[in-house]
Symmetry: C2
Subunit: 647 residues, 2 copies
């Protein structure tokens, strides 16, 4: 620690009751549609049934994929968070049955992995680089902790603690142990959660071991294990260990690289260990990765990783729109990581990024109805074009649309667990300071310096910048209410009990330090105009274009309201841009309408190319309608575009 500020602690979702608004609606959909839909898919694919399979009882249906267990872990976690605020005995019974099956699938020594137990017991822990054993374990740990905490039933957590004990015995610095770590990070955050839930320091130390060991050369663990398998390490399909962030020891890595989900899971784990162990070299590495990613490699939607080929990063300022991979899981992982960065460094910039990702690149991952999902989240869409494959031009137009499920279905349950726990991102407490991070109608029970404080929040955010709090305390209590002034906001007012206050924001927060009495009222008004956003001048794909943003929400044009050929739509510099409430659209959102031109050549006739003088481009004015990007592809298929040309 560079200063003596205690690490802040986020208020867990259990203590933040969402009472309506944006996240109230999204949680209802998540609870009523998404969680059941995922369960049905886990049944349909055979993923739950795989838990019942035994090596000695092969089942013809058992085409088990090596990342299946992680989906169960994430679904379990979503259920846990959901039960905190909405008890559901039927769902709990269903879930207890899944946990019983997990217990049955666990081997005598604590090992738990359907793929290897049923299909390849001889290959356990033999290919950490490519297979997902520890990744699956990490997700199961997170799910088990959430479920046991929500229900008070220890079984799930006990199962995973037994598995963690086996992993702890298997991996480590001793000669008889494997000096490895998972090609797909996740277990680091899972072990820290298990440590936080159990107090068992071995789990924290193991997570730290994985972080410290990662990318160490001479010899490189992935080379060693490849050779032990009889494989040639130089034949690694992804070419270099940048893909899995194992090209160098963590503390020597320069920036964000490789597979974007692996990257952000890893960085989240690094920040966890930095916070838990006060390791300043890891704090420095975390900030370096954060700055590189948010300054050079993040879409305006909070999407990460432009390329399908490595599901990840390419190079600085590279933001293809149509082919943007921008995996839903990567934006989700960015949210996780951002929360951990704030713990290291209480500055609003982490929450600004978290908010950008949440309202855009994360929530675009699920349909308004809650039962279809995007894996990749492009920023422009045309018939025939999808972010997985450019070559798709045979037959009738094919539009890129959300799917019921995926072969590798990491995104749907990941999104579900985040939505179910989103209340856990609303507040953080550090000493006598209460940070208000994300704004949404809710009732939060906090402990501030030993006193119980309830904050009742009412707002229509992100569609409106007015936020109102009522403070409930049993006796007057002194604390510092630190209101985040988002990076997108350039003008705001604050009033306490009707009296204007003018605190100058520090590190992005307007601090209201006072003795609070029961019934005190706080009003925050964030002025929320429509902004014409520009991308950095190095972003060649967005040159000459703007994106519309209002508050944290990025907008897009869809063909439905705006016709096709959106590439030919231009927004004049002086265009009128008006927000409007659309209460019947997607459960209630804001839209933006404004002046636009459709600039198409007149008298084109036949031919692909003509001199401009022969086909004078003619602008026809029309009024465009933009919808929040996260809600695109919920209606008729058609074109979509975020970055719009300027007239």
């Amino acid at each position: 620690m560079t200063d003596s500020t205690p690490r802040s602690a986020a208020i867990p979702s259990k203590h933040v009751n969402i009472t309506g608004g944006y996240w109230g609606e999204r949680q209802t959909v998540n609870r009523e549609r998404t969680i059941p839909a995922i369960y049905q898919q886990l049944e349909k694919t055979g993923q739950l049934e795989a838990l019942n399979l035994k090596r000695s009882h092969p089942n013809t249906r058992s085409v088990i994929y090596m990342f299946w267990d992680s989906d169960i872990g994430k679904w379990l976690e979503a259920v846990g968070y959901s039960l905190e605020s909405h008890p559901d005995p039927e769902l709990e019974k269903l879930t207890d049955d899944v946990i019983d099956r997990m217990a049955g699938a666990q081997q005598a020594d604590g090992y738990l992995n359907t793929y290897f137990s049923v299909l390849e017991p001889e290959n356990r822990f033999r290919n950490l680089r490519d297979w997902h054993e520890l990744y699956n374990a990490g997700h199961l740990m997170e799910g088990a902790v959430a479920y046991s905490r929500a229900t008070g039933k220890p079984k799930a957590q006990q199962i995973l603690a037994r598995f963690a004990d086996l992993i702890d015995a298997t991996f480590g610095p001793e000669d008889h142990q494997k000096h490895g770590y998972c090609g797909h990070p996740e277990i680091e955050m899972g072990l820290v959660r298990l440590y936080q839930a159990t107090g068992e320091k071995r789990y924290l130390n193991l997570a730290k071991y994985f972080i410290d060991e990662r990318g160490q050369p001479n010899p490189h663990y992935f080379d060693v294990e490849a050779a032990a398998r009889g494989d040639d390490p130089s034949k690694f399909w992804a070419k270099t260990y940048h893909y899995c962030q194992a090209h160098a020891p963590i503390r020597e890595q320069a920036g964000a690289t490789g597979h974007s989900v692996r990257a952000c899971y890893l960085y989240g784990g690094v920040a966890d260990i930095a916070a838990e162990t006060q390791d300043e070299t890891l704090v420095a590495a975390s900030k370096r990765f954060w700055d590189d990613l948010t300054e050079h490699q993040m879409y305006i939607t909070g999407g990460l990783g432009p390329a399908h080929a490595n599901e990840g990063f390419t190079f600085a300022y590279d933001f293809p729109n149509e082919s943007a991979y921008a995996e839903t899981c990567a934006s989700i992982a960015l949210v996780f990581w951002a929360q951990r960065m704030f713990r290291l460094d209480p500055h609003s910039r982490y929450i600004d990024v978290m908010e950008r990702a949440l309202y855009n690149g994360v929530m675009s991952g699920v349909s308004a109805q809650g039962d279809q999902f995007f894996y990749a989240n492009p920023l422009a869409s045309y018939p025939y074009v999808n972010p997985y494959e450019h070559w798709s031009g045979i037959g009738t137009p094919r539009h890129y649309r959300r799917s019921d499920w995926f072969f590798c279905a990491c995104c749907p349950p990941n999104l579900s667990r985040l939505v179910a726990s989103v209340g856990g991102y609303f507040y953080a407490v550090s000493g006598a300071t209460v940070y208000a991070q994300l704004y949404n109608s809710s009732s939060a029970q906090l402990q501030v310096n030993g006193s119980a404080v309830t904050l009742e929040q009412h707002t229509d955010y992100p569609w409106n910048g007015d936020v109102h709090w009522a403070v409930r305390v049993e006796q007057t209590t002194e604390f510092d209410l630190a209101l985040r002034i988002p990076d997108w906001c350039r003008d705001f007012q604050i009033a306490v009990n009707g009296s204007p206050m003018t605190p100058e924001p520090v590190n992005g927060y307007a601090h209201l330090r006072r003795r609070w009495s029961n019934g005190d009222e706080v009003r925050l008004s964030l002025v929320m105009p429509v902004e014409r956003m520009m991308a950095h001048p190095e972003v060649r794909q967005d040159a000459g274009t703007i994106a519309l943003q209002r508050g944290p929400v990025v907008y897009c044009l869809e063909e439905m309201e705006n016709g096709s050929r959106l590439a030919n739509v231009t927004i004049p510099r002086e265009a009128r841009l008006n927000p409007a409430s659309a209460p019947n659209l997607f459960g209630g959102v804001s839209t933006i309408s404004g002046d636009a031109l459709r600039v198409e050549p007149a008298n084109w006739g036949s031919g692909l190319y003509h001199p401009q003088s022969r086909v004078q481009p003619t602008p026809s004015p029309f009024t465009f309608q933009a919808i929040p990007y996260a809600f695109w592809a919920n209606r008729e298929p058609g074109e979509m575009r975020v970055w719009l040309r300027e007239a």
Copy 2:
């Protein structure tokens, strides 16, 4: 035939002596650098040595690729054309030795293929879909015909005639014959050439058989042969037979599809058979493919096939610039096909396309020095980006540059044979009409209605639109000199012996029909301003941009003269655009300079995205320098861009 016009005949390169100018320079480079460089590569890779290998004498160096023979065929063809105008006893001796090796490699039954003879004799003609046996044979036929004609030595042609006889016996409608055709078309044009050289009608009939049989269903030949190999036809990697234009019988195919080189080779063969057999259904199909391709699927450079995945076509109006595959061979094949289309339909539109391809997408395939080659020809280039793979972002910037050679080296010798024979595209004769197609200083010996006519042409085309002819005849001769008025030209003057003439162009030709006397002079002045070209409004990638074209030449900006961040360069609508002669650049070219703005936000500071109001974009004027696109990437590595934003 829909009319009684006789099919025109192109005047072969043998009778067109190029005396300087653009093609004089390119042919010198081709002869002095390219042909020797290719020979060295054929030696270095072991391709020539493979001809010496025997099944019974395996050679450790014999990693033979199944398309190797085609490279030899194309090189042989380039040598043949080159020797026509520039006898070279040493080169001829070298080539005779290659032909002796071919004779040695030929099997007793006439079969000739290094891959199958040496490595898999048991698999001969068992996978026409994927292997390249008949494709190789076709290229060898074309090469052998060219070489035998140039040198008067029949050996090469005799070898290939023997092979053609074997193929003719193997494939056909009889029960004992295979009812197949090659997955990679080419042999169709090769057989027609062999027929034209030998008069042996069986070769023509066999080519027609391949065309007629292609894509016939119930059963589909590729299904049949896959099953015979024990393969599952539905596992075809390219998914559908669109890839190889065998998804339907030729006459039922709707448009250009699949692998772009296969497509244009096939369509060239179709046009050949249409012309030779007067088959109107094939004429109609040819025109349908042509219209679809040139109206919907051709880059402004004459590049074809935007996608790397299938090396081919995607869908109408899809023209990604950075990732444009636009294989050099595809533009070359378009030139071949265009010439054959003109034979079917004497209209300048085919030659307009041929010319566009030649000066842009073909010639970009070779370095100014003649010894490095592009396979893919993108229309914009940035460090880290290449048209083969978007994911290339690790380490220092990598620029897409020409290569010495390729694993599959189809493009270099293809380009070489075209440059060596380019004089054969200058004139065509039909009855008493002499079509002047491409303009370049040259001396052409024609036979028009039985009379010898020599046309001496002088011009600095394509850098200058003035073309001058002196007519040499032994006695006054009546014929119609039809001068092509290119599609890019909107104003021209013609004078005969100093007297202005004003023929109205018919089908793109200004006809000068008269009795020509020895020494008559013709002047054609094509007014050649710099044009701001626009792409069809459906081309989303080029919306709001223009490309600079002067005459048939498309220009580009390179970083060397214009700095980086070319995406931020805009060309104002009223910009001054001046052509300039650059005699010392690439052996003498024209450039274009003009007014441009570099529009970058001021005061950007840090951060990826900012409201426009905070970072007012500021235009700074500068004078740009554009060079001909075909000559890009010949100097320092840097950005390149054809389509430029408008201010």
